[in-house]
């Protein structure tokens, strides 16, 4: 079956047999998802205003994960796509985690048993000294 024909196969009945996306009639409303996403955006902007770092972490990154899940599952239809698509994306994410695990100790730490990253230490010290003397100049 051509892909063109595939698109038209969905019309009205939402078949799933040939790799289609199933019945969109029982799919959550796109508009409700959109409004939820906007609500979450408002929370992520409001979070830092309370001044608690842990709250900012949750409202910024926790909510980013929820928003990403909503977009992937409801707009990209990963929740009704064949599982192999999710496995493909998860494999890419797994490679990313491997990269992070391998590289992050050398970047996040500035000294180890037999090495020292002087440039990074100097930069931290320089920036902190500059921040303590210069007046704050930042946007909200």
């Amino acid at each position: 079956m051509s892909e063109h024909a595939h698109a038209h196969d969905h019309k009205g009945h939402g078949g799933h047999g040939d790799g289609g996306h199933g019945d969109h009639a029982d799919h959550p409303s796109y508009f409700k998802t959109y409004i939820t996403l906007l609500g979450l955006l408002a929370v992520s902007v409001a979070g830092p205003m309370f001044g608690h770092p842990w709250l900012t972490l949750i409202t910024a990154f926790g909510i980013a994960v929820v928003k990403a899940y909503l977009v992937a599952s409801r707009f990209m239809h990963l929740n009704i796509e064949k599982k192999i698509a999710s496995y493909l994306l998860l494999a890419a994410l797994a490679l990313l985690l491997l990269f992070y695990a391998g590289v992050s100790p050398d970047v996040m730490k500035h000294r180890g048993n037999n090495w020292e990253n002087m440039a990074a230490q100097d930069e931290v010290e320089r920036a902190e000294a500059a921040a303590s003397t210069a007046p704050a100049h930042h946007h909200e």
């Binding site: 698109a7 707009f75 902190e128 100049h137």
Partner: protein, 191 residues
């Protein structure tokens, strides 16, 4: 007549859509590598949250652009819905709305960058601004690419041809939106 590669489907997913999933998987590694590197530096350098670093980005502009991209994603999924119903003209119109969202995003980005560069926050200012311009720049180039594809598809879709492509560009566009969902807190909120 279409080539066999276009019509067979060993995975049960139409070839075009499977190709887009592959593109997205490779984009996860591209953007993910960049964002993971940023995260490592952010956690290893407390000064990144300071006034000459992330402290100088404008949260409201970032939030507005998030709103713009979420809205354009909504237009893209509604275009897909129209294509699925066999309504090419409506799908084409909604593709244009989506592309307009991309254009708005780029205009806001242009304004924002002009303002930041004029204040001295250039790509060589420090490591934060290097990450900022590279990450946002690569993302913006994906926005431009998506808009061009949508404009190319517009003519065929309007004539009820190749309607399955609306979903394909839609999935790409949602992914571009998804990347921004992570860029926004990293570059604009974590100060």
């Amino acid at each position: 007549m279409r080539p066999i590669a276009t019509t067979r489907s060993a995975t049960g997913i139409p070839t075009g859509r499977l190709a887009v999933w592959w593109v997205i998987a490779s984009e996860i590694v591209i953007f993910g590598g960049l964002l993971a590197s940023y995260l490592m530096h952010r956690l290893g350098h407390p000064e990144f949250g300071g006034p000459e670093y992330a402290g100088a980005t404008n949260t409201w502009i970032g939030a507005f652009n998030t709103f713009v991209l979420l809205t354009s994603s909504f237009a893209a999924v509604k275009a897909h819905e129209a294509a699925q119903a066999g309504d090419g003209p409506t799908a084409a119109k909604r593709l244009l709305y989506t592309a307009f969202g991309g254009l708005t995003f780029l205009c806001v980005k242009g304004y924002e960058w002009t303002h930041e560069i004029s204040e001295g926050y250039v790509i060589t200012k420090n490591a934060f601004w290097s990450f900022y311009y590279v990450a946002a720049g690569i993302h913006a180039s994906h926005v431009v690419g998506g808009m061009i594809i949508m404009l190319i598809l517009y003519g065929d879709v309007k004539k009820n041809k190749e309607l399955q492509r609306v979903e394909l560009i839609g999935n790409y566009w949602h992914f571009v939106d998804l990347i921004w969902i992570f860029l926004f807190p990293l570059l604009y909120i974590a100060k």
